[in-house]
Structures are given as structure tokens and as C-alpha cells.
Amino acid sequence: MSGQQFALTAFVVTWLTASLRLAGPVLLAALGETFAEQSGVLNIGIEGTILLGALTSFLVTLYTGMIWVSLLAAVVVGIAANLLLAWMYVTVRASQVVAGLVFNVLALGVASAVYRKALGDSAVPESIAMFQPLHIPFFGKLPVIGPVLFGQTILFYLTIALAFASNFVLFRTNFGLALRASGENPAAADSAGISVSRMRYAGTLISGAAAGMAGGYLVLAQVGLFRESIVSGQGFIALGIVIFGRWHPLKATVAAMVFGACDALQLSLQIFGTHVPPQLLLALPYIVTILAISGLFGGKAVQPAALMTPYVKD
């Protein structure tokens, strides 16, 4: 193998490995959001929920050192926070955009206040125990595919499994049917005996659990510490992935990989040193999202018909 070939292989392996690694948390958040949107709720509050989940898992790991417990705690906090959101969306019937957006500000305030209360103004952020990449015998030794597909953390495989599970639940169970009916035609769902409110609460809480876990994923498998800027729009990217993935868990998985690839390309190119301004590469995932949801590639037709429309029972 010549030197140049070797460098190229190394580049591709680094790039693809990072693509899948970066795709994980946003995919998890997007899977949850798919449930919310299929039930008719556009949950913009996942951005703030991810932040709260990240803070929770960071603090719990810092004090107990148990990473699985902290992941669970992040899920619980995600659900609790989204109980408030679900109440705003479904019971109060407030504008979903406004409630979600304001919730994100609230979450930022809470997270930064709690973080300071817990750790003081210490300048050096403490790092914590993290999930390590698995070493799978035999498969892990395969060239290229080995490190890319079989060298991820356990959370990645869990997320992929959840994608398939979501697909099954949404399209093969009565619950999934009732959920989608509430988002497509709530009046019809109501007359068929489905409680639209309960379904929308369920959708929002599922997205909260997933977003909280995504925050934990971010901290426990990627960053290892907490900063207020840790989420920086990943929740919004997850929203883009849901649209790009046509409100379908498996398509969302592919979409998340594409996003991860963009994000990772920027990292890889920065490491290899290019003359492209880094900001252009950093902006790439956002530009791709905008193009994906701009309507250039359709998308209105498959959107849940009652998305963002509060349901008033007659």
C-alpha cells in the first residue's frame, strides 16, 4: 500500500467513524420527535430538553460515577420537563412554536443556574467517566468496516435498535395507529374513540425521554463535560432530520447519517488542514438542513396534516 493510499484510507475511516459517532445523539432526539410530530405536536422544546438531559447526566455521573444511572436520570428529567411542555401544547393549547421556544430559554436559564450552584464559577470544567467504544471480536478487525461499524459505543447500537423499534411501534401496533391518527385527523380519531389529548401527551413525553437521553448520549459518549453551549442547535438539527426523513424512523436514520457525515467532514478537513475557512465547513450541516427542508424536495404532502394545530373537542 503506497503512502498516499494509506493516508486516504485513514481519512475515510476517521471520517466515517466520526460520521456515525456524531449522528447518534441527533438521531435519538429525532426518533423521539417523530413520535411527537406524528401525534400532531411540533416539539421545538427538544433543544432545551437535550440541554437539561446533558446537565443531569453530567451531574449524576460526577457525583455517583455510575453512567447507566445517569443516563436513566437524564431520561427521567426529559420526561418531567416535557410534562410541562405537553401541558402547554395540549391542555392549554398554546402556540407550539412560542411555548417550545420560550421553554428553550427557560431550560438555558435553569441549566446555567443549576450548573453554577453545583460547581461554582470554577473556570476549569471537570470531565467525567464516559462510555468507551466497544471492541467486538473478529468483526472489529475487518478493514475499514471494522472500526467504522463495530467500534462505536454501546449507545450507538442502542439508538439503532430504537430506530427499528420505533418503526415497529409507529407502523405495526394499535398505539402507533392511534398516535398517527391523532396527528392526521384528530376529529376522526376522536370519533373512533381515541383520546387525542392522551396520544399527544404520549408523543410529547416520548420525545422528551428521547431528547433527555440524547443529552446524556452527548455528554457520556462524546464530550465528557458540560458547557452551556454543548447543544448549540442540535435539537433544531434533529427537527430538520425529522422532516428530511419524512416523519419515518428508518429514513430519519439515513438522514441522520448524512448530517453526521457533513459534520464529520468539517472535523476531518480541519485536522488535515485545508485552506477552506473553518466557518464555511461549520455552517455546512445547517445549510444542508435548510436545503433539505426548504421545500425544494417536496415534503408538505407527507407531513402529518394536523401538525401544529391544537385540537379542540366539540
Binding site: L42, I44, V92, V102, V105, L108, S232, Y286, I290, G295
Partner: protein
């Protein structure tokens, strides 16, 4: 209020003292009041932009981006006309209208692009505008670390020439003429929405797009126009900040003002006149929060919690009562009924 009092207690400060700090500095001292006015101008302008776009049915959330683009464009213009450059110093009476026009156009085009995607392609403006904020941040970072960077360790431009600064209006304070621009804009937006046919068409478009189309209104074009106006006001906010307060362009200049401005508009119930006092209250609170952090050692992020909880409570209160109570923001100057219906 009660919830926040408990929060203050958690930090070991007496709530009364904390509230005193929160409101005394910004409203009872001249210096503090000047700072409050400085914070008020961009908030009010962004809130006005929110009103124009949201009442036209265009749920634009990209004011953070408009602010940055407007600020960058103005700073570029100001540096271009600095003494010693090719365009040389130009008189302020000529520079100001030029800067207003330029900042407005820059923000307007930025938001107009999102409007175009919504009007022509049917894209979701909520998400597109949120994403566009991040792109604007990267553009700004590129500008201040690349082509517009001043020599020095910080990523920022040179200080803008003194001749391009907005005049200070209260002696002994930092209050600048940006607040006058904001007040003028509030009156213009009010006139546009209440007194002019175009404003009526915008509101009809926002209220019921199908009916508007049936009545012969070109909905796509109205949305584009609303996006342009809204973005322009966001750009003006950036202009006021850069010419009035910062006097240079730097990374992180927006600091979330694009979102707080939206919240201000909501609290003012999308009423352009009520925006000014609401923005003053919010601007004052952010000044007070900094004072509180210094004196009572309470993190200023508490105000985020206070402000967002207020909005959530107002929303819940509003929606649960469902049209039964009309809260008149200004008892003497109630907006016509049409305005209140739309604001629901």
C-alpha cells in the same frame, strides 16, 4: 414572582433585596436608566419585526441572524467611510440615512430569502429561520476573524470612526439615538398595520390565507414583503447596536437579543405601541440582573428563568381564559378589535 422569590431564597438572598436590585438600578438611577435605554432599542426593533411577520402569518424566528447581518453590513459601511479611506469621511447627516437604508436592506434580504422559500417552495419558515441564525453566526465569525479583523488578539473589527456613532441623547449616560429610531419605527409599524391598505392585506393574509387569496390578494408576495420588512427591522436593531453602543463589530454581538425580542413582542400582544414600554421593562430587567449579580451574588441567568416563566404563565392564563377577558395594555389607547383578534 412567587416562584422566583423561592429561587432567590435558594441562593441565600432575601427576595426583597433581590427585587430591589433588579429594579432600582435600571429605573431609579440616571446611569442605569441610560443603560436600560441602550438595551431597549434593539429589543424594541426586533419586537416590531416580530409583529410585522407574525401578524402576516409568517412565523419568523431568525432575528438573531438579521441582527448580525444588519450589524455587519453597517459596520462595513462605517469602516468604508472612515477618514482616510477612498470614500473619505462623509457628513453624518448623509451617513445616517445611508446606514439606516443599508442595515434595513441587509436584514430584509436575509429574511427575504426565508420568505422566498416559504412563498415559492412551501418550506417551513420556523425551522429554516432557526437554522439561518447559525449560518449568520458563522458568517460573523468569518468576518471578524478574517477580512474585517483588526490587528490584536481579539476577533473584532477596528473601532468605528467617531463620526459614524449615533449621538448620545441623555447627558452623562450611554443612552443613544437608537431609542428614537425605535420609537419612530413603532409609530410607522402601527400606521402600516392600522392605517394603510397594505397593512390590512398583510393582516388578512396572516389571519386567513385562503380568504385573502379568494379576495384577490397575492399571498406569496405579501409574505415576501412581510419577511422583508421584518428582517429589515431586525437589521436596524443590529445597526443601532453597532453604531450606538458597541462601536465595533465582534463575535457574539447578538447574545440572544433576537429571541428576547420575540418574547417582548408576545408580551406586548403583538401591539406595536405597547412594544416600547415592554421592551423598556425587559431591557431594564437585564440591566438590573447584572446589578443583582454584582450585589446579591445571584447569577444573572435567573432572569432568563423569571422572564420565560412570565411568558409561559401569561400564555397559559390567556389561553385558559379563552377570549373572555380583554387585557387592555393601554387603557386610553386600546387598539381596534381587529388587532386583538389577530393577536390570539
Amino acid at each position: 414572582m412567587l416562584v422566583t422569590s423561592i429561587l432567590f431564597l435558594a441562593y441565600g438572598a432575601s427576595p426583597l433585596q433581590a427585587y430591589f436590585a433588579l429594579f432600582h438600578e435600571p429605573f431609579a438611577t440616571l446611569r442605569g436608566f441610560g443603560y436600560s435605554l441602550v438595551r431597549t432599542s434593539p429589543l424594541a426593533l426586533i419586537a416590531l419585526g416580530t409583529i410585522v411577520s407574525w401578524r402576516s402569518g409568517f412565523a419568523y424566528l431568525g432575528f438573531e441572524g438579521c441582527f448580525i447581518i444588519g450589524a455587519s453590513a453597517t459596520a462595513w459601511l462605517a469602516l468604508l467611510t472612515a477618514p482616510g479611506t477612498r470614500l473619505g469621511p462623509i457628513p453624518f447627516s448623509l451617513f445616517l440615512p445611508l446606514a439606516i437604508l443599508f442595515g434595513f436592506a441587509a436584514g430584509g434580504v436575509w429574511a427575504g430569502l426565508v420568505g422566498l422559500m416559504r412563498a415559492r417552495l412551501g418550506g417551513n419558515e420556523v425551522l429554516i429561520s432557526l437554522m439561518s441564525n447559525y449560518i449568520a453566526v458563522f458568517i460573523l465569525q468569518y468576518l471578524v476573524s478574517g477580512p474585517m479583523r483588526a490587528p490584536g488578539s481579539l476577533p473584532e473589527t477596528r473601532l468605528l470612526p467617531r463620526g459614524t456613532w449615533l449621538p448620545f441623547i441623555l447627558p452623562g449616560t450611554r443612552a443613544h439615538a437608537g431609542i428614537l429610531i425605535a420609537i419612530a419605527a413603532a409609530i410607522l409599524v402601527w400606521m402600516l398595520l392600522q392605517k394603510m391598505p397594505l397593512g390590512y392585506e398583510l393582516i388578512v393574509t396572516g389571519f386567513n390565507a385562503a380568504a385573502a387569496r379568494y379576495a384577490g390578494i397575492d399571498v406569496g408576495r405579501r409574505i415576501l414583503l412581510a419577511a422583508f420588512f421584518a428582517g429589515g427591522l431586525g437589521g436596524l436593531a443590529g445597526m443601532a447596536e453597532v453604531l450606538g453602543s458597541q462601536h465595533r463589530l465582534m463575535d457574539g454581538i447578538s447574545g440572544g437579543v433576537g429571541f428576547v425580542g420575540i418574547v417582548v413582542a408576545l408580551l406586548a400582544r403583538l401591539n406595536p405601541i405597547a412594544v416600547i414600554p415592554t421592551a423598556l421593562l425587559y431591557g431594564g430587567m437585564s440591566v438590573g440582573a447584572d446589578a443583582m449579580q454584582r450585589r446579591a451574588d445571584i447569577p444573572s441567568s435567573i432572569t432568563f428563568i423569571l422572564q420565560s416563566l412570565t411568558v409561559l404563565l401569561v400564555l397559559a392564563f390567556d389561553a385558559l381564559r379563552y377570549y373572555k377577558i380583554n387585557l387592555h395594555v393601554f387603557p386610553g389607547r386600546t387598539p381596534p378589535p381587529a388587532a386583538q383578534e389577530v393577536s390570539k
